[in-house]
Amino acid sequence: MMLLAISLSFVIGKVILIAVILGGSLGIAMYSTWAERKVAAIMQDRTGPNRAGPFGLFQPLADGLKLFMKEEIIPVLSSKFLFILGPSLAMLVSCMTSAVIPWGPDLQFADGSIFSLQVADVNIGILFIFGAVSLGVYGIMLGAWASNNKYSLMSSIRAASQAISYELALGISMIALVMMSGSLSMREIVEQQHGFWKDGYFTWYVFKQPFVFLVFLVCSFAELNRAPFDMAECESELVGGYHTEYSSMKLGFYLFSEYINMFITSVILSTLFFGGYNYPGMDWVAAHVPPMIYSFIGVAVLLGKAVGFILFFMFIRWTIPRFRYDQLMNLGWKSLIPFALINMLITGAVILFFNK
């Protein structure tokens, strides 16, 4: 059990790291709501929020305050414990995923000690993410069932079956990538994408496995319950989907956890496919700047890529109309899963051929 033999400084360092990651992802999720409205406005020839502070930058704070001040309503015939458990679970699960993401190159202190910018380098990092994603359904289902409203329940069933369907395609598409990397550890996958160009080809997995990236991207849209797959909410047509009965900050938790999920998913996409904290010319940078600065440049690069993905998610949301439910199921089961399977087979054959 080497796992449990740990020193105090290590624990303190990890606690600080976890606090920073959670605080950072909450902050980014907060400003995602602002960015979402700004992006929507820009695409629709409007200006968006601009009243609260410069460029409306205090808008998320105002929204949060508003949600806190709202009356908290718990339906009489609901089961109260589960009603509160639902949004808490949604929030918990979305915060949990960040544990296995390598946020940057190891920090090297002046006394030579090394601190890893990853909460836990488990050798099954990708599977951990799948586990957390598959648990995300419970927040929706429990909350909807507990609100004792048949429309919430129906919506939650729609959301859950969507999530389960697309988890399959997500998992199968990832197998091809895992076969190439030969490891499930996030840290190792990132290390394999070191730099940008090596041995006459790109190191980033998006260039090695573009179809996996495509399937993964589509599935993550579905997993995030975001447009064009936001069947769970349909906020423009229906009352609100699974969180119809929710008010105040419990509703805020649901909405907020979606934005955290979006941030984490963007980080995962950039980690798995766009080299994580790697960037072209990083060896030159490593040779010319102090190691501390080098680490922080890596973190900044990763966050930059993630922000790019967040903007892409918003870009798609304000462009593409929603899929119909049968189209969604057809796309998931009849297109993406066979496509991912064929891609997996071809990848396996190619690897077998070259590693003979």
């Binding site: 796992l3 069932w145 389960i164």
Partner: protein, 178 residues
């Protein structure tokens, strides 16, 4: 008592409490939730045994997929403690006997296992790495490849059966409509 012994006892107690909760709670939904918690604590045991792959697969497959379907069915059937059918005394008696017999078999099996290992020194600190994904894959595809394939055929047949059950028989529908 080392730290991992403490964790072991804590996890075991939690597992047992949650498992008893599954059969004791009258609301089917809370039963399912207890079952999910039981899976989590069992995954904790897997992690203690250095089988992280098994732990996470246990969570993905059982807690993440199968129990969601259980929840689906229970929520749609709208079961609650009022609709629980009254059980016959005879049935209860039979259940006690069969349950007791199962318990006896399990205890006998566990007892036998312990006697088989008593003489050996088990290295708990450096537990085997059989649970790690690489070793597990090798074992599955060499020593246990036949049972593994049999299991996959079993799953395939279950899937085919589900599809056949789910397919509407046009003849029957027509006769119902007439």
């Amino acid at each position: 008592m080392g730290i991992h012994q403490i964790v072991f006892w804590l996890l075991s107690i939690m597992t047992l409490v949650f498992a008893i909760g599954v059969i004791m709670s009258r609301n089917p939904i809370s039963s399912v939730l207890f079952l999910i918690l039981t899976f989590f604590t069992i995954s904790g045991h897997y992690v203690m045994l250095n089988a992280q792959f098994l732990a996470i697969v246990n969570i993905i497959v059982y807690a993440g997929a199968i129990m969601v379907l259980f929840l689906f069915v229970i929520m749609l059937m709208n079961l609650n403690s009022d609709t629980e059918p009254q059980k016959n005394v005879l049935v209860q008696f039979a259940a006690v006997i069969s349950g007791g017999a199962l318990l006896l078999v399990l205890i006998a099996a566990v007892k036998k296992t312990f006697t088989g290992l008593e003489g050996k020194e088990i290295d708990l600190v450096n537990a085997t790495d059989i649970g790690l994904i690489k070793n597990l894959g090798k074992v599955l595809f060499t020593d246990f490849v036949f049972p593994f394939e049999i299991a996959s055929v079993l799953f395939l047949s279950a899937m085919v059966g589900a599809v056949i059950l789910g397919k509407k028989d046009k003849e029957i529908i027509r006769s119902v409509e007439v």
